[in-house]
């Protein structure tokens, strides 16, 4: 066995170490000299240059704020613009007695106490010589009053700047969104340089999703000022680049038709161009006026909006989750054909209820005495529940889940708006993961008619409808068609299309059945099929808001409006060459056929008729 011993030669180590200490000290001296040389350069050679730069208030760098891009609809109508706005601003350092000045201003212009407090709060955040606004969006009267009294208010001035204005107010508030003052959380994550001097930022909707494009690039000016902080001349300036103008696929006139057609109902209408995926209508009712948010909405007004039962701030088209009800049936029917669970001529006898073998529970049809013998076409046209209970049972939840997911149920559509909800397409796996429960056969049955766990957004429904009408070519909805910069034009988002692996003949059978819903003798939406020169395909739906007890009677006159069923309708037109797909949800509307279908009918009519004119 051998062992290694560490033999240390102490004198060598000593010499080596002392050597290194000396070298280290020499390096340190050299580097320190480098620092001193640089200091000499800055403080002696460059002293005069830097002194002139530093001389009390000599050169200040002032950000030049870019003009925010405009937002237009598909026909060039203005949805968001910039209007001159006058604000009263104070430079505290030039005011001898701030409290006295504020008191006199308050008296002159009748400023509420709340504004004064807001002013004090904001002033603390600003830099010392910055001017802080006291009043925004001044009226002509206020302007005139102050103009007369101005000599008595040194350090107080009127500033003109551009403020965002939304001419259509509540009509497109959810989709266009609004800008508001940058808050402290946003300040932390924003690029400091880009937002020097910018006071507003997109909060929701397109204004928020396309903030980067709309904002533009901040420029700056180096300004020489005198001791009183007055600008003498601009030494050097880099002009700001204005934000890009956005052209949406939205048709604001069509949006108005849809919004007005919803009338007394809360709800949403989404219409999509089947060929491109461009969103034509994105209406959520009730809307709200976004203009007060720009200047800073008062606390009371905000609370009123926020606590209203009808939830106007809620974007139902994008985030509203509803059971699809019978509007899911065409897709379930297609699944049946694709999985060979049924043929188009397969018939079922509907006695008005459905029972699972060996279970006494009756799944009721909406038609108490039943539809009799029905095939797929009849079942879709008359919206027979029993047919789809039976089909769902034959397909099983796994097949249904996998097939319907392809149409985008349970997934975000990928529209260019932030905050989209994914909805829910239930599966065995989901229930085990989320609820730690096994799947029950009864849940499969009701999934077949769009009840149970399934939840969809109006946007998802419209998208699924468009994909079906587009013969299985996947449609991805988008809102921004063109981004027009000062020097270039970019077209809307790249759309990754694909085609679903579904047989054309099967799709055609379903679309034909949907045409019969509107034009067939016994169709559930035949009231909109009269007196039109083209054919519409559609499907009505009714989504239960609350469960009815077994054998209990549902009498809509007796129950409270709030608990009435939601009315749904999906449609496409014209049937021979689909151009538009629509989804309508009228909350508590009761019947899809009588309430939701006419709304879709109006939208389709206006779109196809104006289309023919062009």
């Amino acid at each position: 066995m051998s062992r290694t011993y560490i033999i240390k030669d102490n004198s060598v180590e000593n010499r080596l170490f002392l050597n290194r200490i000396i070298v280290a000290f020499v390096i340190i001296l050299l580097l320190t000299s480098a620092l001193i040389v640089r200091l000499v350069y800055l403080q002696i050679v460059g002293h005069e240059h830097y002194s002139s730069l530093a001389k009390d208030n000599s050169i200040k760098i002032k950000p030049l704020v870019p003009t925010r891009g405009m937002i237009y609809d598909r026909n060039g109508k203005i949805l968001a613009e910039n209007m001159p706005s006058y604000s009263l601003e104070l430079i505290p350092e030039q005011i001898k007695d701030l409290d006295d000045t504020l008191k006199r201003l308050q008296k002159l212009l009748n400023i509420p106490d709340e504004k004064i407090q807001q002013y004090h709060k904001q002033r603390k955040r600003e830099k010392r010589f910055a001017s802080t606004p006291l009043l925004m969006n001044m009226t002509e009267e206020e302007l005139a009053k102050f103009a007369v009294a101005r000599p008595f208010f040194p350090g107080v001035d009127i500033q003109v700047h551009l403020a965002r204005h939304y001419p259509y107010a509540d009509l497109a508030s959810h989709v266009v969104g609004y800008v508001g003052r940058i808050n402290e959380t946003e300040l932390k994550t924003l690029p400091v340089a880009e937002y020097q001097g910018s006071s507003h930022i997109g909060k929701i909707g397109i204004e928020s999703s396309y903030e980067a494009q709309l904002h533009g690039k901040t420029g700056y000016a180096e300004i020489e000022t005198n001791a009183q902080a007055r600008a003498i001349r601009t030494v050097n300036a880099v002009e700001p680049t204005p934000g890009a103008n956005l052209y949406l696929t939205l048709d604001i006139d069509l949006q108005k038709t849809a919004y007005d057609a919803l009338d007394i109902y809360n709800g949403a209408v989404v219409a999509i161009d089947v060929k491109t995926g461009g969103v034509l209508v994105f209406a959520s009712r009730p809307g709200f006026d976004p203009n007060p948010f720009v200047v800073g909405i008062s606390n009371g007004a905000y609370q009123a909006l926020n606590s209203s039962d009808s939830r106007p701030l809620y974007n139902r088209a994008l985030r509203g989750l509803y059971p699809p009800g019978s509007t899911l049936k065409p897709f379930v029917g297609l699944a049946g054909l694709e999985y060979n669970a049924i043929g188009t001529q397969h018939r079922i006898f509907c006695p008005g209820f459905y029972q699972l073998p060996g279970v006494s529970h009756r799944y009721r049809d909406w038609k108490k005495w039943g539809h009799g013998s029905v095939n797929l076409n009849d079942a879709i046209m008359q919206s027979c529940d029993v047919y789809f209970y039976s089909l769902a049972s034959a397909l099983g939840i796994d097949n249904m889940h996998d097939f319907l997911q392809q149409f985008g149920f349970g997934e975000k559509t990928g529209i260019d708006l932030v905050g989209e909800k994914a909805g829910l397409m239930p599966s065995r796996d989901w229930k085990r993961r989320q609820r730690n429960q096994s799947w029950y056969p009864g849940e499969t049955i009701i999934t077949g008619i769009g009840q149970g766990f399934t939840q969809v957004t109006p946007l998802q429904l419209a998208r699924a409808m468009a994909t079906l009408a587009n013969k299985g070519n996947i449609v991805t909805p988008f809102l921004v068609d063109k981004i027009v910069n000062a020097d270039s034009t970019t077209h809307g988002p790249e759309i990754h299309k694909g085609t679903l692996p579904v047989k054309q003949e099967n799709i055609n059978s379903i679309l034909t059945a949907m045409v019969n819903v509107v034009h067939g003798e016994r169709g559930t939406a035949k009231i909109i099929g009269r007196n039109i020169s083209y054919q519409i395909g559609g499907k009505t739906g009714t989504a239960q808001v609350f469960n009815i007890k077994q054998d209990a009677k549902y009498n809509e006159n007796e129950i409270e409006f709030k608990l009435r069923d939601h009315a749904l309708f999906i449609a496409f037109a014209p049937a021979d060459d689909p151009k538009i797909a629509v989804a309508v949800i009228a909350e508590n509307g009761g019947h899809g056929g009588s309430v939701a279908a006419p709304i879709a009918g109006k939208v389709i009519k206006q779109y196809l008729e104006s289309d023919n004119e062009n």
């Binding site: 200490i21 340190i28 403080q43 830097y50 002194s51 340089a193």
Partner: protein, 376 residues
């Protein structure tokens, strides 16, 4: 043969000398460090807009730091050596813990919240890394061989990467240089040092690729600050204006206009040297650099007098790292180095960095005051 008793016969013990010996305090180091702390108070009063609250908080930290320094000076260096590996491993574990917590909390995380106070493991690793490497190398003969170099390299790279990932480039740099310092004093061959420099230079593009956007911004801004005067370049431009306008004699205490008018950002922390340079001019700057050189000189002297390999390597590395601190901060403020978040040691406001720094000086004092008197 000289013994302690005989020495006392030659130098009659004064009451103060006795006290200092009992306190294990190195007088020259103590005086220069106290001077630096005073400079810190003077300049903070000005840079912090004459806010007494700032001074009080800084005084509390400095007091704590001097306390810790005295405490560590009492510990026998043998104990540092003995626990080097344990302390280093503990530091690495804490760094990993911080990183994992940061990933859970989504975002940069440097702190470990211990309830009653927040602890920054990267500060601890600044001292334990050189301790670990000094211990490892001192167990072998010097200069280090290939195998030892490879292991030492791993011991440096692991904590450096963990800290860079936080991301805290400044501290990562200091940890790496403290480890490299040990290797340098251990007698790493010059050929090898040149080779490492060459390799690092060729790695630059890869590092560039791995950097965070904001880190890249800083480098780009350093290369051309005027390209972005509203954003990243603002710090450096304003800092140069403040320093340059100070001239030879400066504008006098409380006379800085740039930090007063809020042109100079972070004037109390990383950019405090710019305020100092504006108020005290070239003379003041050179004076401050001389003070730093005195501290470093004394530290290197202590290293040269250390009696065992571990103490020497550790003392040498701690001294060298202190200089890196000074050089990186001042270099960045005067615009010859990119902006990395390193405070001016002993002077900048806040941070736990002053506690760690003085802990390092405590170890140096321990090394010096625990020497055994050997025969000449």
């Amino acid at each position: 043969m000289r013994t302690e008793t005989r020495r006392e016969q030659f130098e009659p013990p004064s009451a103060l000398g006795n006290l200092l010996r009992k306190l294990h305090i190195d007088v020259p180091l103590f005086i220069t460090l106290s001077l630096a702390a005073m400079v810190s108070f003077v300049i903070l009063y000005s840079a912090g807009s004459q806010n007494m609250g700032v001074l009080v908080r800084q005084a509390a930290r400095v007091g704590l730091a001097f306390g810790l320094m005295t405490l560590l000076a009492h510990v026998n260096p043998y104990q540092f050596k003995r626990y080097s590996a344990v302390l280093f491993s503990l530091g690495i574990l804490l760094l990993i813990a911080v990183l994992i917590m940061g990933q859970i909390g989504k975002g940069a995380q440097r702190w470990l919240d211990l309830g009653f106070f927040r602890f920054q493991p990267s500060e601890m690793i600044k001292i334990t890394t050189p301790m670990m490497i000094a211990w490892y190398l001192s167990e072998h003969s010097l200069p280090p061989k290939w195998k030892q170099l490879c292991i030492a390299a791993v011991l440096i790279v692991v904590p450096t990467l963990l800290i860079a990932k936080q991301p805290d480039l400044g501290t990562a740099l200091l940890v790496a240089s403290s480890g490299a310092g040990v290797l340098f004093f251990a007698g790493l061959s010059w050929l090898f040092i040149l080779a490492i420099i060459a390799i690092l230079a060729s790695l630059a593009p890869i590092v560039w690729h791995l950097m965070h956007d904001y880190q890249r911004d800083r480098v780009l801004t350093f290369l051309n600050p005027e390209a972005d005067p509203m954003g990243r370049g603002y710090h450096i431009i304003q800092s140069k204006i403040a320093i340059g306008s100070g001239g030879i004699y400066g504008k006098g205490w409380l006379g800085s206009t740039q930090s007063e008018l809020d042109f100079l950002p972070e004037s109390s922390t990383d950019f405090i040297f710019a305020v100092f340079a504006e108020e005290f001019g070239l003379f003041g700057c050179v004076g401050l650099l001389i003070l730093y050189l005195l501290i470093i000189g004394r530290c290197l002297y202590i290293a040269s007098q250390a009696q065992d390999t571990y103490s020497r390597l550790l003392a040498g590395s701690l001294s060298f790292t202190f200089f890196v601190y000074v050089f990186v901060n001042i270099g960045m403020v005067i615009g010859i180095l990119p902006v990395v978040g390193v405070p001016l040691p002993l002077i900048s406001y806040g941070g736990t960095s002053i506690v760690t720094l003085l802990a390092g000086f405590g170890i140096l004092m321990s090394i010096h005051t625990h020497r055994k008197l050997l025969p000449n």
